[in-house]
């Protein structure tokens, strides 16, 4: 049926598009700024204030400096392992917990929920956690980046909310047909929660991608370093040494301070592009119409 648009609707659509376009323009600026800065000439960049709408003399010095570090490729590999392995584990655990918490008539449901929420507010701190993780023998293993962060309370709660919106009638009829909890979870609930799964997967993946602190304290073998840790080192390597090492009689570092800025930007691009590429794959789950025709009877 073709809808005739009222004048109101046309005006709304027009202004909506304009607002969103405006938003897109002002929001893409930071990325463009970083991108242009990363290929700009360091000296010219330093003298520049205000809006940066194009790169100031294309120079790839910054990228060269970053990539000449032999550990870059290794870093990517390690991060990929952690992202994929970690996210897989995360999703599994999150779904199990969310399923549990979304059931009705389960006696200990609220207790578990409270137990989980409390961990969002209280924790033992660095040393006790460190002792537990190393006590389990995870030192110098990528497992230390995957298992201690196996699940996030916030994400469980969000997932639970999504599970709760699935009509009970679906589950009941499946239950009456003799389905077990597992098949209810896998055949009914998960397929209908694809979009939420995608979001939570994205959240976990981004967190894994950005993580460096756990790696810094649990890994002493540099071959295991994730990309963020390596990039962080490179950034410090090129920062204004005077600020970091007060007593360094470091007049020789003056040329490096200039390049440091551009390296900082190159780093952001290098660290961010992969994760940006992941999003379009997940976008298709946000398309409408996931639950077509399931609500019959």
């Amino acid at each position: 049926m073709i809808m005739k648009k009222s004048i109101q609707e046309i005006i709304f659509d027009l202004s909506n598009h304009l607002i969103l376009l405006f938003w897109a323009i002002i929001t893409i600026y930071p990325l463009l700024y970083v991108l242009f800065s990363s290929v700009s000439d360091a000296g010219r960049l330093m003298s520049h204030r205000g809006l940066l709408l194009y790169p100031l003399g294309i120079k790839f010095e910054a990228y060269k400096r970053v990539f000449e570090n032999p550990m870059i490729l290794r870093g990517y590999m390690n991060t990929f392992i952690v992202v994929f392995g970690g996210t897989a584990l995360n999703l599994m655990m999150t779904c199990l917990a969310a399923y549990f918490l979304s059931r009705k008539n389960v006696l200990w449901k609220n207790t578990v929920m409270v137990m989980i929420v409390i961990t969002m507010y209280f924790g033992g701190g660095l040393i006790p956690s460190y002792l537990v993780v190393t006590g389990l023998g995870m030192r110098n293993s990528l497992l230390a980046l995957i298992i201690p962060g196996a699940v996030s309370a916030y994400n469980i709660i969000v997932m639970r909310t999504s599970f709760q919106t699935i009509p009970a009638s679906l589950e009941e009829s499946a239950f009456l047909d003799g389905a077990s909890d597992f098949s209810i979870l896998f055949r009914i609930i998960l397929p209908l929660s694809k979009s939420m799964l995608a979001v939570v997967a994205l959240w976990y993946a981004v967190d894994h991608w950005n993580a460096w602190f756990s790696a810094a304290i649990y890994l002493t073998k540099r071959e295991l370093y994730p990309i963020q840790l390596i990039l962080r080192e490179i950034l410090i390597q090129n920062a204004d040494s005077q600020e970091i090492y007060k007593m360094t009689i470091g007049a020789g570092e003056q040329d490096e301070a200039q390049v440091a800025e551009t390296i900082k930007y190159a780093m952001i691009i290098i660290a961010t592009v992969p994760i940006l590429c992941a999003y379009p794959y997940l976008q298709k789950y946000f398309v409408k119409g996931v639950m077509i025709g399931s609500l019959k009877g």
Binding site: W23, L31, L51, L96, K288
Partner: protein
């Protein structure tokens, strides 16, 4: 003589009744409990076992002696925090910033998701959405550098102001504008990424509801008001509760990068205040004490929000 075959109904002792309830529940739900066992175990091992570390706020931490060996000092560090001349200012700023964020930064992603949802052109939608979450991945340091650049007297924003006939002003040195800049830039950076979950929630709404509404002649606005919003209400409310449960948290990094003595009055928050103590890098007792205070206050707010929500909307955490 025939005796009554029916058993006598004896009222159970309360303890026994509880025990019966528990075992009945176990018999029925044992599999579900099994399913959640890994998660519970995980939390026990990685959160509850190390939980003894929480006492560090009450002790004069000595690394060599560890937690049990360090001397107990009770509320010393809490007092240190509460004795600060700027305590009330810092608390007030923290709460106010969170309040403004609640009013502006919380609904913004929802509105954005709804508006973008109305766009029919798939490609436009996709591009705008992707672009919108890009700033989230740019580090805070860079974003604050851009903000500072825009806000100086001869920066972009002042250029626009003077074009519109206004007077140039060093924006970040003005107490009137700090919170606005802080929150607006937060929306700028975070809107896209925060809206993803609302997109997901919207996409899960049953299409048939829309179709029947259209047949009934509902306008697009009414569709949104009566179908979309109610469908994503649970998501919104849960996120709202969690947001309130974080009311004493304002990250120190962005504050420190943007504030200066001219705006301490409105910008200094709990985290930045503690940070500037510039303690020996590892004096944790003080930071832990303040953190504990933060957590307790936040938890109280969370419980209150949860209760209110339960009564008003039947949606709650527990």
């Amino acid at each position: 003589m025939s005796r009554e075959i029916l058993p006598e109904i004896v009222p159970e002792k309360p303890l026994l009744a509880i025990f019966h309830r528990i075992s009945k529940d176990f018999k029925k739900n044992w599999f579900v409990y099994l399913m959640v066992l890994p998660v519970v175990t995980y939390y026990l091992i990685f959160y509850y076992v190390p939980m003894y570390g929480i006492q560090i706020g009450f002790k004069d931490f000595n690394i060599a002696k560890g937690y049990s060996g360090s001397p107990w000092v009770g509320l010393k560090y809490f007092k240190m925090f509460f004795d600060s001349f700027y305590l009330w200012r810092v608390l007030r700023n923290t709460v106010l910033i969170n309040l403004y964020e609640l009013i502006f930064s919380f609904p913004a992603p929802i509105l954005f998701a709804l508006l973008l949802n109305e766009v029919k052109n798939r490609r436009f939608k996709k591009y705008v959405q992707t672009i919108s979450y890009l700033p989230h991945f740019i580090s805070t340091v860079v974003i604050c550098g851009i903000i500072t650049n825009f806000c100086v007297s001869d920066g972009l924003i002042n250029d626009i102001i003077s074009l519109l006939g206004g007077e140039r002003n060093s924006l970040l040195q003005n107490v009137k504008y700090f919170r606005t800049i802080f929150i607006a830039s937060g929306i700028w950076q975070g809107l896209g990424f925060s809206s993803i979950i609302y997109f997901a929630a919207i996409s899960a709404v049953d299409q048939e509801l829309y179709q029947s509404a259209i047949i009934d002649g509902a306008s697009r606005f009414r569709q949104v008001w009566h179908i979309t919003l109610p469908s994503i209400k649970p998501t919104i409310i849960i996120l709202l509760i969690l947001n309130i449960g974080g009311f004493l948290n304002v990250g120190f990094q962005k504050i420190i990068l943007l504030y200066n003595p001219a705006t301490y009055e409105v910008a200094d928050v709990i985290s930045s205040h503690v940070y500037t103590y510039g303690l020996q890098k590892l004096n944790w007792s003080y930071g832990a004490a303040v953190g504990l205070f933060n957590s307790v206050a936040n938890l109280i707010l969370l419980i209150a929000a949860n209760r209110v929500s339960k009564k008003v909307s039947e949606i709650s955490l527990w």
